[in-house]
Amino acid sequence: MTNTYRYLPDTEQDQKEMLEYLNVSSVEDLFADIPSNIRLEGELDIPEADPEPVLRKKLNKMSAKNINADQYSTFLGAGTYDHYIPSVVDHMISRSEFYTAYTPYQPEISQGELQAMFEFQTMVCELTGMDVANSSMYDGFTSLAEAASLAVASKKRSKVLVSRGVHPESRAILNTVAKGQGYAVEEVGLDTDITDLKQLQSQLGKDTAAVIIQYPNFFGSIEDLAEIKKYANEQGALFIVSANPLALALLQSPGKLGADMVVGDMQPLGIPMAFGGPHCGYFAVDKKFMRKIPGRIVGQTNDDQGNRGFVLTLQAREQHIRRDKATSNICSNQALNALASAVCMTALGKHGIRQMAQQNFEKANYMANLLQSKGFIVKNKSAFFNEFVVELPLPVKEVNEKLLESGIIGGYDLGEAYGEQKQMLIAVTEQRSKEEIDQFVECLEAVVNG
């Protein structure tokens, strides 16, 4: 008799030999320690297995029910972007020596992963202008929440201030996390498209552990970090910046502008949108927090022959050593996506990343100007990177339905998160050609003019 399942190697003969060796008559005997009361009666009520070709067809069909960015021209951003991913990225992360490995606890046979993470950490430090970066977090949002918790713990203060210019989901997760840890989260309002600095100043106090700002913010606008740092400093609060790593190719690094911690998501650099995940959080800090930051860190050292090698280091911070005293409960991270991102940054290199960022900036500005020339109102008063908000005469939801008919995925509806049903957040990446932008504007005109 042949086996039914291709992942299961035991033949009848193998099973027989092992059972005989164990001196039991059936596999069932090996489950005798599960009390009969709690044994499953009958089978799990899930559909039967599909052979590979059948399953492939079914799942292909299921995936085809989703419209995707290969078929449509997309202007949706709001934290997840359609960017150029060099072909080499997927080829390199598909080396199964990388993707079928576990966390590199045995450094002698994990030098590849460890070195790649060491290089990733270096690249994150370069972009953010910080001293130390870990080897990734779940995503930018949870990374921000971890930074807030770390600030509260190290300042021994009870409150963090977060701008309403920070991604709404990031604020939502921060609220959930803060509830667990028992600190307060206060939001700082907006002055049109950027953080209201007067409000910030009035909310800041000696109980403020940190001020949290997004750079560029959720509306694409570029906040003046230097100014905000001054206010934070006056009250001795830490300064946490959540930054788009692509934008950091052109914008002054948060590190130079006084950030104590910089967090964000590497998705714009080499990671597919994939319906929102897995992406890859990053976490970079000033060296004074090195021994407190969450997650895994790779460090350089030598072997017994004096050769350079890499190991997981500063593990005394982590849950498997500290248990309930750990600074965070994080264990798994997003290593493979950090690798994707490192490969992408390597491919783009020092100049490519600037060129790509510059195109984002120029294309978004081109589109905003074009819209303005057609009579649309662009809400951003400050300079913006690759996203901006446009006011429409109709609800965004209606407009997007019409745009879809022309093969365009429109922008993000600010209705649910900000109560602005007629404001659309539009992202323009280097992937959008002038032709696509022009077509979008034309369609938009047609839609709003009925």
């Binding site: 399942y5 039967e48 790649a116 460090g299 017994d304 996506n337 120029e362």
Partner: protein, 498 residues
């Protein structure tokens, strides 16, 4: 083979590129016309990313991959991590443009296939765990634990109680107490009995009106089934506490029993263990959470539901603990797990656990004579040996683990759980053949002999890896956690000197 030890930064040369972008087709704009100077990053200040050609990039990462051991390279019996085969079709399906090139904020009407997959996965995981509802949001086991504990907190608060204490057995994974602490609880460790199981009488002493929950893994981290689980559940519930199931070891029970049947109220699963999604060198994983009926109101939002023939997102749950992860969780991982479950079906999943348990018992018996085996009852999907016999001869478990590297094996989990001296935790998984397990057993037995006859070969191991034992103390004392150019010039100086 040429030895390759360069960092990507060391092979970088100004002017080389590894990408191709079209020229901009819109007018160029000077950043300075829009932004104050202090917010602009000048060319001199540019992030110093490497400059290499595409082939150099490929050679670099290929060389690195050659210095890495994955499941595809060889046996990986890392206990508690379920290092089973990661199927290739899972990778293909996750990369379909209809799954990988879709945006989380697309209108649900335009992402019905993705939502259908998530909905089906929720339904199937609910059956597999015996729970009433599932949230797919958490990105990993630890985040699942924390999500579950936040629900525990919300549940007790709703009942007007402020219970502060979470109990964990001494064999628990480190994330259990860490997650409890992050969720605002205090952890109390309860001792195991001589059989490696929860001591029911001891447990009773710890239960009181301050007990929020007991966290358990079953089979536990020793690979042993908690045979008194029904009684445990009863006493915890009697004290008003909830029972939390850490699904790290779910590979042992598929189709045999469910956490729901055992009396658990909350479950998390590690899809990167039981459900074959790759560990990726440390992640990404996924840690869905399941609950019984009475905890459904507290699940994270948005929830994925079916309304007639349509799949929708619903955030209208006022008692929800809120959002725990961006968007819809680690979707790409969820796609892989779903593909696997569809590949195996009911019968296949049952055979998975049967194979896992048969293999663990077989391998344990093959090794029992040569190593101390602190627990002798049936084991489930994994078992723990002790290296204390070898320690007496001056060789520690760490040394034996390093010696295994010379045989081409990834060593078992060592020094865990904490309640076994010189522990070796071995999980062969169902996807390994008998020949592989036999060869591994032979290697282990040979090492046990070496410890007696020629301990130096074990003490000096590994002998065949690209680096020898690394100085972890130096790494932690004088941390070098990034590359800096200065290092380069120092190195040149040193080279000049020598």
């Amino acid at each position: 083979m040429v030895e390759y030890n360069d960092l990507i930064f060391e092979i970088s040369r100004p002017g080389r590129v590894g990408y191709s972008l079209p020229e901009s087709d819109v007018e160029s704009i000077d950043l300075e016309s829009k932004l104050p100077k202090h917010l602009i990053r000048d060319e001199e200040d540019a992030a110093d990313l490497p400059e290499v050609s595409e082939l150099q990039l490929v050679r670099h990462y290929t060389a690195l991959s050659n210095k890495n051991h994955g499941i595809d390279n060889g046996f990986y019996p890392l206990g508690s991590c379920t290092m089973k085969y990661n199927p290739k079709i899972n990778e293909d399906i996750a990369r379909l443009p209809g799954f990988s090139r879709i945006h989380p904020y697309q209108q649900p009407e335009t992402a019905q296939g993705a939502l259908e997959l998530l909905y089906n996965l929720q339904e199937e995981l609910a059956v597999i765990t015996g729970m009433d509802a599932i949230s797919l949001q958490p990105s990993a086991g630890a985040q699942g634990e924390w999500t579950g504990l936040m629900m525990v907190k919300a549940y007790h608060e709703k009942n007007g109680e402020n219970r502060k204490k979470v109990l964990v057995p001494d064999s628990a994974h480190g994330t259990n107490p860490a997650s409890a602490s992050v969720a605002g609880f205090e952890t109390t460790t309860i001792p195991s009995n001589k059989d490696g199981l929860v001591d029911l009488e001891e447990l009773k002493k710890y239960l009181d009106s301050d007990t929020a929950a007991l966290m358990l893994t079953n089979p536990n981290t020793l690979g042993l089934f908690e045979t008194e689980i029904e009684e445990i559940a009863a006493v915890v519930h009697e004290a008003g506490g909830l029972l939390y199931y850490d699904g790290a070891n779910a590979n042992a029970i598929l189709g045999k029993t469910t956490p729901g049947a055992m009396g658990f109220d909350i479950v998390h699963l590690n899809l990167h263990k039981t459900f074959t999604t790759p560990h990726g060198g440390g992640g990404p994983g996924a840690g869905p959470v399941g609950v019984k009926e009475n905890l459904i109101p507290y699940l994270p939002v948005p929830r994925i539901e079916k309304d007639g023939e349509k799949y929708v997102l619903n955030s209208n749950y006022p008692l929800s603990i809120g959002r725990v992860k961006g968007y819809h969780g680690n979707f790409g991982i969820l796609v892989r797990a779903y593909t696997y479950i569809r590949t195996m079906g009911t019968e296949g999943l049952r055979q998975v656990s049967e194979g896992a348990v048969l293999h663990a018992n077989y391998l344990r018996k093959r090794l029992e004579e040569h190593f101390d085996s602190p627990y002798t009852q049936l084991c489930k999907h994994e078992f723990v040996l002790s290296g204390s016999r070898q320690k007496k001869l001056g060789v520690r478990t760490l040394d034996m683990a390093k010696r295994l590297l010379d045989f081409g094996y990834h060593p078992p989990t060592i020094y865990f759980p904490l309640n076994v001296e010189e522990g070796l935790m071995i999980e062969p998984t169902e996807t390994e053949s008998k020949e592989t397990m036999d060869a591994f057993a032979d290697a282990m037995i040979q090492i046990a002999k070496e410890v007696e006859e020629n301990p130096d070969i074990v003490l000096d191991a590994p002998h065949t890896t690209v680096v020898g034992r690394l100085d972890e103390v130096q790494a932690a004392r004088k941390p070098v956690v990034r590359y800096t150019k200065e290092k380069d010039s120092e190195k040149e100086k040193q080279t000049v000197k020598s």
